[in-house]
């Protein structure tokens, strides 16, 4: 153990002396997290291809038509599922941006203005419930606009054109006016008057929506969520998937875990390279001649990498907490997440360092592999913005699990079962890396 500690201390001291290595390990990840945090904090662009689940509890022709309208929208990728619980879990894990639940009775509500507006469209009376990933709030505005638009389209198809609605209101008022007072009492008249007022507002909204659609088709600039906000989110109720739990307070809640990924990458490259350098510059020979085993040499290198990876992540979280308002939801889980990420990437370091035979070859190979994995894993562009095929392969990237495990601890509020998945994935990467790395290292020594 003493020898392992000596070897680890040596590597930590070497890292401290290596200014470029220290920069990429410590400074760059912080700079990345801050820069992208600032960029995203002011972002208002429209993401494309947001993955959204739909649960159609109604199963009516109207709800099917509504789903079809959603599917026609290029900014969404709709998947229809049957289980609300599974959908919520997928959103909670960050696998999908949102879930739309079309409630039972949707078809009747959209076809019946009286039923729709008579009870008012409050939280309880929402036609569509939208469960969103708090980490992807930027998609909320888009969803609101798209879903509300599709809803109006569906209502219009169910009730007819705006003029028809207006005519229905007008005819209704006339019928009430013609009715004797003893047949339709005053309170009923007032209530029905309110219904007919709502119908006229609906007609006006339908015309406004048609006008906006015409403008879009004519090439007028989109106003995105603003249109939807102007409609007041009619008939749509948004819910965070983690009700009563804190979502990300700012974009830094997202970019700090991403910065962690870059810090881990720098650790892998730095220590992996140091292992290759020990071999090519002869110091490995010196170590192996000393009364220490090859396992101890590797353990020393791994310990230094692990400690540095933990340190880098801790510094990043601390910077986020002190300067950018990042608050850790579960400190205990964060410790486990940091340790699991450090373990995984230490294992990866061991495997990658044993692959190349020259410093240049190892560094080039390591950077190429890690960069691709980082980009696929959400280290650069958040997963929600990625094309479908990239999301499909993101699971092979340890960066995805490292980011997700830290997010789980910082703001996702994941329970133990939900947090276990990413942590187990990281443990798997770590064990695989260690086994492969030790095997390759020992094989290289026997040559």
């Amino acid at each position: 153990m003493r020898a392992v500690l000596s070897l680890a201390m040596k590597d930590l001291l070497l890292l401290r002396r290596d200014r470029a290595g220290a920069f990429f390990t410590l400074v760059f990840p912080v700079a990345f997290a801050v820069l992208f945090g600032l960029i995203f904090s002011g972002a208002s662009g429209t993401p494309t291809g947001v993955r959204v689940l739909v649960v159609d509890e109604d199963g009516s022709a109207a709800s099917s038509a509504f789903v079809e309208r959603l599917q026609e929208n290029a900014s969404l990728r709709i998947e229809v599922i049957g289980d609300v619980g599974a959908g919520e879990a997928a959103v909670r894990r960050g696998q999908r941006a949102a879930m739309l639940v079309i409630g039972d009775g949707f078809g009747e509500d959209v076809a019946s203005p009286v039923r729709l507006f008579g009870g008012g469209v409050g939280d309880e009376g929402a036609l569509v419930r939208v469960v969103v990933d708090p980490g992807q709030r930027f998609t909320q505005g888009v969803l609101q606009g798209v879903v509300t638009g599709a809803l109006f389209e569906t209502m219009r198809a169910s009730m007819g054109e705006a003029e028809g609605v207006r005519r229905a209101a007008r005819d209704g008022r006339a019928a009430i006016a013609a009715s004797p007072a003893e047949t339709v009492h005053l309170p009923m008249r007032v209530a029905l008057g309110a219904v007919f007022d709502q119908l006229e507002r609906v007609a006006a909204a339908m015309e406004a929506e048609r006008g906006a659609s015409a403008a879009r088709e004519a090439g007028a600039p989109e106003t995105g969520a603003g249109d939807a906000a102007g409609m007041g989110g009619f008939g749509v109720r948004f819910e965070d998937v983690v009700v009563a739990r804190s979502g990300p307070r700012s974009s830094f809640d997202l970019t700090i875990p991403q910065g962690n990924a870059w810090g881990l990458m720098a650790c892998v490259i730095g220590f992996g390279m140091s292992l290759v350098t020990e071999r090519t510059r002869g110091t490995m020979t010196r170590l192996l001649i000393a009364p220490v085993s090859s396992s101890q040499v590797l353990a020393g290198k791994a310990a230094a990498c692990f400690v540095t990876a933990c340190f880098v992540q801790t510094v990043l979280i601390a910077v986020g907490a002190v300067f950018f308002g990042v608050r850790v939801g579960s400190p205990g889980l964060l410790v486990v997440a940091i340790a699991a990420s450090a373990f995984a990437f230490t294992g990866i370091m061991m495997a990658l360092s044993a692959v190349g035979r020259t410093e240049g070859g190892s560094e080039g190979f390591g950077r190429a592999v890690l960069l691709v994995l980082a980009l696929f894993g959400g280290g650069g562009v958040p997963l929600a913005f990625m094309p479908e095929w990239m999301r499909q392969v993101a699971g092979v990237s340890p960066f995805k699990w490292a980011i997700l495990s830290v997010e789980n601890a910082v703001w996702r509020g994941a329970n133990a079962a939900e947090a276990a998945g990413p942590l187990l994935a990281l443990a798997g990467f770590g064990v695989a890396g260690f086994v492969l790395g030790v095997w390759l290292f020992r094989r290289s020594l026997s040559r």
Binding site: R2, T283, T285, I289, A290, P291, S446
Partner: protein, 302 residues
């Protein structure tokens, strides 16, 4: 048993420090060491002389436990195979390549290696100071190794092998690429190690070094020891005859010189010196180069 103990002076290992028996080592289809046997005696400077690629470094790698033999046995007397970490505590080795941490100072390199060998803090500091003094680097002790000259790095490379005060020291081509000043300093260091009672195994492809420093020399080529003995024994057995070259009055140029091959050059010189007209007499004694040439038909520098 401590590193400074006399563990080879006892019992059936008396006098013997390191033994290699019928050792084979191949890299794929390339045979690096082919049935090599050696017995290194306590207190001697043993030279392994051979051209590049002869198997010297592989032999050192096997002797220090860095490599495992495919067949055969390597043993440090009374301790076992050097592939065991605890056995390696008793030997010091200087690789052919400069094996130092360039970002560390000379002192830091020695302190780190002392720690790795389990020396306590006070002993580490004392040994580092002693060794830096010994290799003439005290004034540069705090400088990073990257700022050292090649010769200084070579000297520190050897000092690093001595930090735990081993009784057996293996030096793999320690003078490769050094300037004459540093080479001289290294020769002095090897002599000092011998005078302290340490056993030194020294590989080189410079026959001058082997002749100057080594008590016994093993001539190695293609992974096999071709001849073994003191320098005089090797020359006597394989070096051929001395050559006395005589230039007489009136003769000019080497083509007019008379070459006399003899086993007793001093007698020939005495005879020639008494002859009239002998203007110049030169003696060429056989050396290890000749031994190698005789044994392999090739020059050491081929």
């Amino acid at each position: 048993m401590g590193a400074g103990g006399v563990w080879w002076g006892l019992g059936r290992y008396a006098g013997r420090v390191l033994t290699l028996r019928e050792v084979h080592k191949s890299y794929g289809s390339t045979v690096a060491v082919d049935g090599l046997s050696l017995r290194i005696e306590a207190g001697e400077v043993f030279g392994l002389l051979g051209p590049n690629g002869a198997g010297k470094s592989t032999t050192i790698g096997l002797a220090v436990g860095l490599l495992r033999p495919d067949r055969g046995e390597v043993e440090l007397a009374g301790l076992g195979s050097p592939t065991r970490a605890s056995v390696r505590r008793h030997l010091g080795a200087c690789p052919q390549q400069i094996a130092l941490y360039e970002q560390f100072s000379g002192e830091e390199n020695l302190l780190f290696l002392g720690k790795l060998h389990g020396l306590d803090r006070a002993t580490r500091k004392r040994r580092a100071a002693e060794l830096l003094e010994r290799v003439g680097l005290t004034a540069r002790a705090k400088d990073r190794v990257s700022a050292y000259s090649g010769g200084m790095q070579r000297r520190l490379n050897i000092a690093a092998a001595l930090v735990h005060d081993p009784k057996l020291v293996l030096l793999d081509e320690p003078t490769a690429g050094v300037d004459p000043h540093s080479r001289h300093a290294l020769f002095e260091l090897v002599r000092a190690l011998k005078s302290e009672g340490r056993t030194v195994v020294y590989t080189t492809h410079y026959m001058e070094e082997a002749q100057r420093l080594c008590d016994r020399v093993g001539v190695i080529d293609q992974g096999r020891v071709l001849a073994l003995g003191t320098v005089d024994e090797l020359i006597a057995a394989h070096g051929g005859q001395s050559v006395v070259t005589v230039l007489r009055d009136g003769a000019s140029g080497e083509d007019k010189a008379e070459r006399i091959e003899t086993d007793d050059p001093m007698r020939v010189i005495a005879r020639v010196a008494g002859e009239p007209g002998a203007r110049e007499v030169r003696l060429e004694r056989p050396d290890l180069e000749g031994v190698f040439l005789h044994l392999t038909g090739r020059s050491l520098r081929d």
